[in-house]
Each structure stands twice: as structure tokens, then as C-alpha cells.
């Protein structure tokens, strides 16, 4: 068969912050660049980021610098991070933020006209460049407008099904379909950058949109790359819990950064009870001390509400379990009694709007009901830090789909900066790979036909299951067994169930035609979702300790030996239902000068 076909030097899959930043870089280096996105341009999940992007610019606290940011990131990640990624990120984030202003971004300002920075959990200094609580929108619109002004080809509403190799095992392109028409399309590329974002849609209560199905994670694995740290999933402490239809919707950490506190049903500001030993020296012991800190970071120590997200999410979980939760199974987030209505509306306009319209709650006079929600996957494709190259020649990965940068837990604000630092590096890494000239030959036509046949199989079955039923059951199963707190028996149950989900996916029946059919689109998402869930479950079973975003009820503390490696997954066979092979991949050893930075902090 012949299909619509396009050739590019660099093909970028995903049009969020990382993909767009990569496109700008590759384009500026004179390459022919194509971007493929399964949504419309400008709608990627980046748009949902609220609080800001972390960069040690020192505009509010001049004592801030990259060394402190590096230290905070490594501590937040419980030292499971790829140190080189954390180092590059801390060093380069300020320049990446500043250049956005050349392209039209308008951040909130300090009194002397610099970019204003706000406090967030786990960051020693106020470090997040922001625009109210809609920073993600500012980032994506700025990059989108830059990409459009450069005349880049963008394939909107086009879903990649599978990466395709050449005869020598180099990645050579991919096969996709256009959602509006259902027609297939192929892309040949000298280099491919995966910038597909996260995988949180496999959990029932999630802040992720329908797009967070882990396509990039799964496609990389099928193509021969390694996935690491998949067990490390971030449950953001503050998602909405009521009404049920918006359960999981994000409430920005900026609420706490701007003075909001957590209370249980008894009105107690409970976070003081949950300060882990590694954070005690720098965390306030009383409400009085904590409250002084907001105005002057030298007058008191940090409020415990601003501990890293994993710590806060576990504390909320414990309060609810102890019977001190709110009416709908969360706790209270209170900014109404602490800040003026004008301040709240100015600093947190979308939160005000969101609660008013969706829950009928006025956050300037009432507390919000919140609870943990699946938010971010720290795990992802193992990459070489400087170039973002994966172990598959020609394949690169940046942003949430890449693993290593955030270790076992990501600090708030480090995601948007990750996108622009490593997006640019991916564009450069891919461009250098293309310039070196040892690129792939043509795609294997048999592999294209096989991927297309597999995607069409659900139309051909006489009888079969509705993909929406499988998705709902998968989300409930993962929430119940591989959620915020894990234990051996539940993980074993999840592994068993994932085998039966694999069989159910092979029996999907899709109704209707191929043009803009969301049922069919979901059917093509499910193999990736199952693949990702399997690697998460395997990693969670093997990591018999608690570290960052991975908490085991049966192994409540960290284990020094397990902290020396990542679990790395590959497939044996390259199909979505192929067996997964897992090995230990030692973490990189820190050079002495960086080790010294961490020692100082201990």
C-alpha cells in the first residue's frame, strides 16, 4: 500500500514545551523539522502547568544560585537522579527563561522590573518565574508563536502508532494516522525526538488529560530503548476532591507558596507532625515561626506545607486514614483566613475561577477540599544527559517522557524548566546526530504494514469489548493496587490483572468509521497504557523500599543499596505484548565537587 509520506531531518513527536523548544533549536540550526501532535497546537498538557518554572536567577533572593538549585533537586529526588541532568538543568534554566522574553513572554515583575519569582515546595529560595497561576499557558503560547513565526510544519491531530526501524536497527521513521480522516501517514526521519509527556491517564484520580497515555514511553520501549524509574509516580498533594466529576483536577502548589495551609477536620495545621528527619533542620517547628518566613526567609524556617510533594501527599493520606479527613475524603487547604480576597484573586486567578465555577466554592472566604492526585511520572526513557540520546541510534527524548532528571520525586516548578532546558538540548543533540551523517536507511515496509494491520484489527472483529470499559477498569485497578501507598500482595494482584488486561485489549471491538472516532483512538492508546502499567508494577514490586514517589507500606524506609541503581526495563521482541526484561542500572557517580555540595546540605 502507499500512504501519505513526509521526510524530515528531525521529526518531533509531541507539541508541548519540550517538543516546541526542540523544534526551535533544530530549526535554528538549519534543519528540516516536522512536529506531530495528537491534539491541536497549543493544547498540550503543558498548558495546565500553573505555578511557575524554577530557575536560580536570584531576582528575589540574590543568594540563590545553580548550586543551591542543584542541591534542592537532588534532595527532592532522594538522590536517585541522573546528577548530570540535574546539574545541566540548574545551570541552564535561567538562560532558558530569559530567552522566552525575547519571544514575547510576559512574566510577572519585581519592583525593579525583573522577573518575579515565587516560593514552592522543596526550593530553598523563591525561584519560580511565573505569570499568576497560568505559567504553562504562557510557556506554550510563547513557544507556539515562535515555532509558527519560523514556518515549521506541524501535523495536528495526528497520532503516531509505532516507531519503525531500518534494516540495521536504527530508528528510521514512524507510522501514524490523521484523526480527522482516519487516513494513515508515514514519516521518514534522520532523527526522532520523543516529547510525548506523561502517562497519568492510567489512574482513576489524575490531573492528566486524555493525552497522558504514555505513548512515547511505550514506543521507546518497543523500539529497543530502556525505561528507568517507572515505579516513581508523583501524586500531587492537592487535587480537587469534590464534585466527583472534577476529582483529581490540579490545585496549584502556589496556594501554599503564597501562604495557604493544610488543616484536618479538627482544624489542626497537621503538617508539623510529618517532618521527616532529612528536612527537620530547615523546617519550622511552630506556626509562629513558619508564618514569619513568608515575609522574610531569614526570620524563620520554612513552613512544613512546603516540603516536597511526596512528603505532603503521604501526610494527607495518613490524616484521611486516621479519620481526620474532610467530608469528601480529603483535607482542607485554607488560604481564605490567611490572605486578603484581593491578594488571592490577583495571585491565584484561575484557582479562584476553577473553584467558583466547578465546585461553587469561593476560595477567598472558604477552605478548599483537596487530596492527592496522580500528576507526573518521574520515570521514563533513559537518556544521555548532554544530548538526550537514548540507547537506540537516532532516537532522542526530552521532557516528562525522559527519565533521570527528577530521580524519585520531582520538585514543583522543575518540570517547565526541564522542558526548555532539555528541549533545547534534544534539538541540538538530534541536529548533531544528523550532521554526523551516519543516519538510518529507509523504513522496513513490513513493519509499517504490521502496525497498520494491528491498529485496524478492532474494526474487523465480529464481537468484542468496548475500549472505554477496559480503560475504566484499568484506571480503577491501578488506583487500587499501584496507587500512592503500595504493598507486595496488591502489586502481585496488579501484575496478574495486567495479564488479563492484555488479553482484553486483543479483543477490542470498535464501532463506527475511522474519521474522528474517539473509541478507535482509545483502542490505539490502550497497548501503550498496558505496557507502561506493566513497567510501573514491575519496578514497584522490585523496589522493596520507600523513596520519593514510591511508597511501600511493607518497606517504609529507604534502603541504601537500592538507592545505588535504577530499575531499567527493555522488551524481548519489541511488540506491545512482549515480555519485559528488567535489570539494575547503576546510577552515575557524582564528581567530587558536586558530592561536596550535597554533603554540605546533610
Amino acid at each position: 500500500m502507499t500512504y501519505e509520506h513526509h521526510d524530515y531531518d528531525v521529526l518531533i513527536i509531541g507539541a508541548g514545551g519540550a517538543g516546541l523548544r526542540a523544534a526551535i533549536e533544530a530549526k535554528q540550526r538549519g534543519l528540516k523539522v516536522g512536529i506531530v501532535t495528537k491534539s491541536l497546537l497549543g493544547k498540550a498538557h503543558t498548558v495546565m502547568a500553573e505555578g511557575g518554572m524554577a530557575a536560580a536567577m536570584g531576582n528575589v533572593y540574590p543568594e540563590d544560585n545553580w548550586q543551591v538549585h542543584f542541591r534542592d533537586t537532588m534532595r527532592g529526588g532522594k538522590y536517585l537522579n541522573n546528577y548530570r541532568m540535574a546539574e545541566l538543568h540548574a545551570k541552564e534554566a535561567p538562560d532558558r527563561v530569559l530567552e522566552l522574553e525575547q519571544w514575547g513572554a510576559l512574566f510577572d515583575r519585581t519592583k525593579d522590573g525583573k522577573i518575579l519569582q515565587r516560593d514552592f515546595g522543596g526550593h530553598r529560595y523563591a525561584r519560580l518565574a511565573h505569570v499568576g497561576d497560568r505559567t504553562g499557558l504562557e510557556l506554550i503560547r510563547t513557544l507556539q508563536q515562535k515555532v509558527v513565526s519560523m514556518g515549521t510544519d506541524v501535523f495536528m491531530e495526528c497520532k503516531i502508532l509505532k516507531l519503525v526501524h531500518d534494516a540495521n536497527g536504527k530508528v528510521a521513521g514512524c507510522v501514524a494516522y490523521r484523526r480527522p480522516t482516519g487516513e494513515f501517514i508515514t514519516f521518514g526521519a534522520k532523527a526522532i525526538i520523543l516529547a510525548t509527556g506523561g502517562a497519568g491517564k492510567s489512574w482513576k484520580f489524575t490531573s492528566n488529560s486524555w493525552e497522558g497515555t504514555g505513548d512515547g514511553h511505550a514506543m521507546a520501549l518497543w523500539a529497543g530503548a530502556k525505561l528507568i524509574d517507572m515505579e516513581c509516580i508523583q501524586f500531587h498533594p492537592t487535587g480537587m476532591v469534590w464534585p466527583l466529576s472534577v476529582r483529581g483536577l490540579l490545585v496549584t502548589e502556589g496556594v501554599r507558596g503564597d501562604g495557604g495551609v493544610l488543616r484536618n477536620s479538627e482544624g489542626e495545621r497537621f503538617m508539623f507532625k510529618y517532618v521527616a528527619p532529612m528536612f527537620r533542620a530547615e523546617t519550622a517547628e511552630s506556626e509562629e515561626e513558619a508564618d514569619k518566613w513568608y515575609d522574610d526567609h531569614t526570620a524563620g524556617r520554612r513552613p512544613p506545607e512546603l516540603l516536597p510533594r511526596d512528603e505532603v501527599a503521604r501526610a494527607i493520606n495518613a490524616e484521611v486514614k486516621a479519620g481526620r479527613g474532610s467530608p469528601h475524603g480529603g483535607v482542607f487547604l485554607d488560604i481564605a483566613t490567611r490572605r486578603t480576597p484581593e491578594f488571592i484573586r490577583r495571585r491565584l486567578p484561575s484557582m479562584y475561577h476553577q473553584f467558583m465555577e466547578l465546585a461553587g466554592v469561593d476560595i477567598t472566604t472558604e477552605a478548599m477540599e483537596i487530596g492527592p492526585t496522580c500528576h507526573y511520572i518521574m520515570g521514563g526513557v533513559q537518556v544521555e544527559a548532554d544530548s538526550t540520546a537514548t540507547s537506540v541510534p537516532g532516537l532522542f527524548a526530552a521532557g516528562e517522557v525522559a527519565g533521570g532528571m527528577h530521580g524519585a520525586n520531582r520538585l514543583g516548578g522543575n518540570s517547565l524548566s526541564d522542558l526548555i532546558v532539555f528541549g533545547k538540548r534534544a534539538g541540538a543533540g538530534a541536529a548533531e546526530y544528523v550532521a554526523a551523517g551516519d543516519v538510518a536507511g529507509p523504513m522496513d515496509p513490513a513493519a509499517i504494514e504490521a502496525a497498520i494491520a494491528e491498529s485496524l484489527a478492532p474494526f474487523e472483529r465480529e464481537v468484542g469489548e468496548n475500549p472505554y470499559d477496559i480503560q475504566r477498569d484499568l484506571q480503577e485497578m491501578m488506583q487500587a493496587n499501584v496507587g500512592i501507598i503500595r504493598t507486595q500482595s496488591e502489586l502481585e494482584e496488579a501484575a496478574r490483572q495486567l495479564e488479563s488486561f492484555t488479553e482484553r485489549v486483543k479483543n477490542i471491538k470498535v464501532k463506527g468509521g475511522r474519521a474522528y472516532n474517539p473509541g478507535w483512538n482509545l483502542a490505539t492508546d490502550l497497548p501503550a497504557m498496558i505496557t507502561v502499567c506493566k513497567t510501573v508494577t514491575i519496578g514497584a514490586t522490585l523496589r522493596k523500599e520507600s523513596r520519593g514517589g514510591h511508597t511501600r507500606e511493607d518497606y517504609p524506609t529507604a534502603d541504601a543499596h537500592l538507592g545505588t541503581f535504577n530499575f531499567a526495563h527493555t522488551t524481548d521482541g519489541g511488540n506491545w505484548d512482549s515480555a519485559i526484561v528488567t535489570e539494575e542500572s547503576p546510577i552515575l557517580t557524582l564528581p567530587d565537587e558536586l558530592k561536596a555540595l550535597l554533603e554540605e546540605a546533610k
Partner: protein, 259 residues
Amino acid sequence: MAEVTMRVWRGDANGGDFENYTVTQNEGEVVLDVIHRIQATEAPDLACRWNCKAGKCGSCAAEVNGKPRLMCMTRMDQLPEGPVTVTPMKTFPIIRDLVTDVSFNYAQAEKVPALLPPPMPAEGYRMFQEDVQRGQEFRKCIECFMCQDVCHVIRDHEDNKQHYAGPRFFIRYAELEMHPLDTNDRRDLIREDMGLGYCNITKCCTEVCPEHIKITDNAIIPLKERVVDAHYDPVAWLGRKIRRKTKRSAADAAVQPAP
């Protein structure tokens, strides 16, 4: 829980009709929740666009009981009793069911001459909050395109799409014109090619904006004043001729090197 009848337009470019679905409606639900329930049960091929389900991405715009709305921010319990009608945005060509072809807007975006700032000093630009505030209002735009949908210049006159950018792009031009760093001059372009004069200030766009951007008062009217001043002010006209400041294209602006 209560049951509700949803009248959903189904079809494609060749035509279509309303289909009725009777579904449960739970406490606190929005229109998009009910559409999703129809998809998950009776009609898995019912086409609708959505992403964030939080009023931040602008994907799920449709017409609910004849008015442009974000389906994710429209509470079922705030609609009048009786059947709820959901139709695709009228101004754009149908793809399928509730999904329209909004490429008109992306084509307009390509015509916008980019920001052209002076070279950035090493420590970054200095701008003050009062200088960026006006632009920030316009940058709240989530590109739901409901202002474009409701604007009668293109809603009722298909031909006008050839020479009219629409409210979404008037706020974009206003943002650039008011940007403290911009050196590009787009006033002739806005007047001659973007059809600002066709807008007769009925404020329909402002009414539907989910971000409550004062499109007419804060963007379109000031933009009209600037464009008119530039056109009819003889001193400004002479100045333009002498400086020979030409419209810079998007491509010219794009060659700005990154630092």
C-alpha cells in the same frame, strides 16, 4: 440521580441530524461529563474535542443550547430544565459531530508578524508590572475560538474570512502593539489586510470569552484608535514615508538569533 435528555448533533460535512440520548446526571457534573458518559456507553464514536477538562486549554468549545460554551466549564445544574442541545461551533466547517475544522485560526496565526524586540541585555530585559499588565490580559487567551465563532462578521458572512482576522487575533495584535519591547509596526497590516474596520463593536466576543478578557474595550477599540491615528495623522504619515518603515513579515522577524 436525575435523568436528562441530550440532543447532540451528529454528522459530517455531508450533513447530519440531532440524536437524543437519555443519560444520568450526577451532582456537580458539567456538559462534558455527560458527553463522555454517552461516549463510554452508547456512542463510542461520538466525536468531540477536549483535553484539560479544567477551562485551561480551550479545546472543548461547542454550542450549548445555541450559545458558545466550554463544555468543561458549563455546569448541567445551571442550565434550564429540559433537554440540552449540543451542536458544533457554527462558524467553522464540520469535521464530525461536535468537532469543527478550526484551521482558519491557525492560518491567521501564521500571518502575524512576530515580536521584534531590541537585543537582550545580558541580565535580561527590564519591564515593569504596569507595562506588562495590559499584554498579560490578552495573553490569558486559551484559544477556544468562541469569540471567532460568535463574531457575526464571519459567522454570517463566509466570504469575510478572506479579509478578517477576528477578535482572537485583534487581541493578539493589540498585545504586540502594546508590548513594551516591540519595534514592529503592524498598523497598516491591521487596517488593510486584517479587516479591523469590519468590527462594529457589538461586544459579542467579550460576552462569550471564558477568560473574561475585555476584548472590545481593551483591545479592539484602542487598536482602532491607533490604526486610525496612524492613517489620518499627516505628521505620522509623513514620518512613515520618511523612515520607510515597512511591514515586516513573520519570516523577517524569525531570523532574530537566539542568545
